[in-house]
Symmetry: C2
Subunit: 687 residues, 2 copies
């Protein structure tokens, strides 16, 4: 029994190893943690801080290109077979340096009597850093609208409904102010536009961005009152670069004009901190001068050639660009990729080589709408469609100090559970406890089964094009907060200047064991997917999830039993398709046991996720093509199952023509049933 | 050296064999014709006539179901591993039996003073046959429009332009009459609708449907004056069933209403023969009562499981439904499929089994818009996308007595040439001459190279969904007329009641050697594609064709040198992409010589055609997704290369906004360049 050990190390500061050991003489993999401690802590720490989080590296800037070059150089040194820089020219958006953005309060004569801050107070130790982009909403329209201010809570669909229906307030022609949180900011902006607002201000409310008993940074990890959340406010729905939807943004690519670009908001948008928010009165002026410009970005793509199946790809990708320093977002994740490459290189030098090709990606311009990853997916769509086995995402490795969080396709559930049982808990006082046990104890999936919760993939990070557009099995893992007690989305200093290396080192993960655990999960998934003879994808689990989703969407429809009768709406065809899928998946699983024709069956496993793709896309969202999963139309971050049916049901409530709306529900049920049948067909014996 | 012989026999009347012999000890195949004559001629003749051409078997009728059941039964007897009947419920269209369709001439009081015939004179020997559907335009709108009659030649785009621009005649509110020929009848109807006509009559002009010196049937093979051409008048653009575009028409499938159906003409349409056409005067009334109705149709699908690569499919498909007897269309082709199955079964019983899975299909409702084949493609899209190697079409095997006609994807050119060199010419006096030589002599591809002409695939038969929508390498072959001397489209009796078995036996192919040659080509392609270790697809040839098409489309644009300068239109990116493809294809071809990793390289060969598919489809034609080939927007029968660019250039001439139109040309060039680059990428080493 030959054992090949691959060490996955976290590079934010310490070198931590996961040993993923393959038993060549048996089928299957075992992940074993070793070396929980490492002597080199502070040297490595200093070194890496110098490397990747000392300077702002916004997408499209010189510094972010330098980091890309450095990563390329090091990945080659680590021993990858090839590393290339892949540029695209995409639409980015920056504040105008000579005309800052701000919100003002006007007196009756039109004089500015108050102006919001032009920048966040810079944290200690970074005072001399230049090129810190001030808080802004990327891709905001330019403009200086003045008007009455209307508060719309979180700016959710239901918040606007409540404003209009219960409170009788019309947002048309107003400037709306909403607090950050609950949903993706782009959805807030879309809702404001639909409501007729002429501008939208977003602020960080301490009710949402302030943990009880915690001091603001640098005394603690809360967001200071002068801090604000940057972020893009696009509604791309998976299009990638707004000017080249569907195609990679290369030199020769045709670009739409800005007017025809995808997802660009038509009104000015601006984010502010709480200290500014409390000053805002009934009437304000927004002063927004942000510029859109086509800018070169750079992905770094590294490869290890597969020994036996070079034409099967397992991808580990995460972004490199940051709003400012990126101490958490994304460098805690980029470090995982970097150290996984280092470990893989070390094993390569000892003679190991994975069965399948592994691709490592350092994406650019994720913050501007997942642009680097989406353009590369568009560029390589044909090849990926035929050859990609799985995509594992590596954005921020940490957003809290509580437990593991995993979002993935159902076929990866079993692998995640098996793997986390082999990893030790990073929590103090849990020596000898597995990550699985620790996670299970803290976040049990009580409604469904006695196992740790795994959620549906939504969007908001670079897996989107791979999973939702191309149908490649995908997953992500990170360390998270206790969502029962911590209300804020993400974490308090998210997308502010206070996301430093120090906030991780001082508060989030002083021992760096949590980051190690996340690295062990991400790295373990990659290596098991790349090196197992039989692909570790579980079709039975997909069947179980489909059944659960089908019942849940049918229940939603059952809120309207009378209309379902009148319009003859039935979910029987969907239940029947799911039942058929379940039987077929079970037969397939049986046949797997014989391990006959491994390549044929691996192809069936690989292509199962692809079978859920409808080339016609979801209604109005041509690049969201997965019939089972899509980002919610009301919140990009959340995953919705059977999104076509869900959206049709949602529209019922607000429809002028209920018959037409129910017809759309029926059409979507039919598409879902067909797709599940078609997916089952891919699991039957091929001839 | 073990030899496995597969005999492909034509069943219209004689049993003719192609021996396709595989040399297991060498790479490659040799096709050798044997048994040119067969003693059983007249018995088999009688038998098969009784079987498949004695009775009308229109799609959706009881008789066409009976033939399907018979085919299933026989394919099982022949020894296929499985045969299934696959039903769909699609929209068909039939005349109203109690209210016949006709055209009348009215006097000034509105009395009918002339009525066109309600049926064709039935040929001798078929007098007692019932259920002969009268000539009609399937899917015509109902209605009884009256109005002035305007003659618009062939009803082509240019004919309507000439009418309006040069002759100053406006067709709005008129009934137009056009002659059959030159383009697909559905395009004529579309043009009439666009011109504002309220009805359209199509007639068979002797100038187009009358061969010089030939008598009308039964004394010869010309169309009698009382004969008329049936046919559907849809503009489906690849949608399949008009009510379920994109999805198979199953029990649970959502159906659009007739108003929302795809491609249904909004005006009455009717076909007449020449004897009626000469009577029509200035003013007429159309009386059209044809009904659309959802009707069950049946495909028959048979399979031979591949011995080594069961998950790779080679498909031979042709339709079974006929407007009346189908003596030529389609039974001369269906016979080829039937006898290929018989021969394959015979070889299976001797222990032979092809490397890959072979699928045989008897499609239904081709005449109503390629419905059976398209629904099956929709039903099986996922599996076909991952597994289909090639699709060979088997519609009418003969449309003339002159030479071979082949339309196929460029990657099949070399295989077609190699194969036809191994087949003997069926022509009298050409003993010892190969089919290739005979064909080359009669139809040299003078503009391009010294080889027999091979044309681009257009549409008009069942390969469409496989090639244009799914991107599966495809081809078709038949015996054809001398197009320099014979003006008619198809053949004179096309889609009339005179398409009998006897017209083939007496005039088109008395020795049945031409049909045998066609069977040898179709069967040879199937067996070589299914059994060669290395797929016989030629990437170099694809590169050559791309270069030719790129130059030709650039030349078309060069008609507007001034505007190209003003709007900065350049084809450089396309030329550069083609150049890159050429180099990559050549490198790939080099690597093929080592025959290393055959499965990996075969997958690259198989997926090359798929790489030309754009999931976003062509503008306004979502189901035409092949960027290199599409049916012409002006004539469905003709294949257009770089159709996106072509259509954009065509629109220039008629555009109100030239800048916008040239922007669209630039966008289409960019898509073409990207697609060719992406296709080249699939041919590079996978890692």
């Amino acid at each position: 029994c030959v054992r090949v050990c691959v060490c996955v190390c976290v590079c934010v500061c310490v070198c931590v190893c996961v040993c993923v050991c393959v038993c060549v003489c048996t089928i299957g993999w075992f992940a074993k943690p070793t070396n929980p401690n490492n002597a080199n802590h502070s040297a490595s720490n200093k070194y890496l801080r110098e490397k990747f989080t000392r300077l702002p590296h916004l997408a499209g800037t010189e510094q972010n290109l330098r980091y890309a070059e450095q990563i390329k150089k090091e990945w080659l040194e680590f021993g990858l077979d090839s590393v290339e820089m892949v540029p695209y020219d995409v639409l980015l958006s920056y504040p105008n340096k000579s005309q800052p953005n701000y919100i003002s309060i006007l007196d009756q004569l039109g004089n500015e009597v108050f102006k919001t801050s032009l920048a966040e107070p810079v944290p200690e130790g970074y005072e001399d850093v230049s090129d810190i982009v001030p808080p802004y909403s990327a891709f905001s329209a330019k403009g200086q609208p003045e008007g009455e201010l209307v508060y719309v809570n979180y700016g959710r669909t239901e918040d606007f409904f409540q404003l209009e229906r219960e409170m009788g307030i019309n947002a048309t022609g107003k400037i709306v102010i909403v607090r950050y949180g609950k949903i993706f900011r782009g959805n807030k902006v879309k809702n404001a536009v639909l409501a007729g607002a002429k501008g939208i201000i977003m602020f960080s409310d301490p009710a949402d961005y302030w943990a009880a008993g915690v001091q603001p940074y640098p005394e603690g990890w809360n967001l200071p009152g002068g801090g604000a959340q940057r972020g893009n406010v696009l509604n791309l729905n998976g299009a990638g670069d707004p000017l080249t939807p569907g195609y990679p943004a290369k030199e020769y690519t045709y670009r739409f004009s800005l007017e025809d670009g995808v997802g660009l908001p038509k009104i000015p948008v601006h984010p502010i901190g709480f200290h500014d928010a409390i000053h805002l009165l009934k009437k304000v002026r927004m002063n927004i001068h942000t510029n859109n410009q086509v800018t070169r970005i750079y992905n770094v793509i590294g490869r290890i050639r597969g020994a036996l199946e070079p034409d099967r790809y397992v991808i580990l990708g995460g972004h490199r660009d940051a709003w400012v320093f990126g101490g958490i977002d994304p460098m805690s994740g980029a470090a995982v990729v970097h150290e996984t490459v280092r470990s893989a290189g070390r094993q390569l030098s000892k003679g190991w080589r994975p069965r399948r090709t592994v691709i490592f990606a350092s994406w650019d311009a994720e913050e501007f709408g997942l642009l680097g990853s989406t353009e590369w997916a568009e560029d390589n769509a044909k090849v990926l469609q035929e050859r990609a086995v799985a995509y594992i995402n590596a954005d921020s490795a940490i957003e809290g100090m509580y437990t593991l969080r995993v979002d993935c396709t159902p076929s990866l559930h079993t692998l995640v559970y098996d793997l986390t049982k082999q990893i030790v808990s990073p929590e103090e006082g849990e020596e000898g406890v597995s990550l699985y046990e620790s996670w299970h104890k803290k976040d049990n999936w009580t409604n469904d089964r006695d196992a740790p919760r795994i959620s549906k993939l939504g969007s908001g990070s670079d897996f989107e094009a791979y999973f939702i557009r191309l149908g490649i099995a995908a997953g992500r893992a990170r360390y998270t907060k206790n969502k029962k007690t911590e209300r804020y989305s993400s974490y308090p200093v998210y997308h502010s200047v206070y996301e430093t290396f120090e906030i991780v080192e001082k508060y989030y993960d002083p021992s760096f064991k949590r980051l190690r655990a996340v690295a062990q999960v991400r790295g373990g998934l990659i290596f098991l997917l790349a090196d197992s003879q039989l692909l570790p994808l579980d079709v039975i689990q997909y069947a179980d999830s489909l059944r659960k989703y089908a019942h849940s969407i049918a229940q939603l429809a059952q809120r309207h039993p009378e209309e379902m009768r009148i319009y003859e709406v039935s979910f029987d065809s969907l239940f029947s398709a799911v039942e058929n899928f379940t039987v077929t998946a079970s037969d397939f699983h049986q046949r797997l046991q014989t391990l006959n024709r491994v390549r044929v069956m691996n192809d069936q496993l690989m292509y199962l996720e692809r079978a859920f793709i409808d080339p016609l896309g979801l209604p109005g969202r041509p690049f969201y093509r997965h019939v089972i999963f899509a980002p919610s139309s009301h919140n990009k971050y959340a995953g919705e199952s059977f999104p076509g049916i869900y959206d049709a049901l949602f529209d019922i409530e607000n429809s002028a023509d209920p018959q037409e709306s129910w017809e759309e529900v029926k059409r979507q049920i039919s598409i879902a049933a067909f797709t599940v049948h078609a997916a089952a067909m891919t699991l039957t014996p091929p001839a």
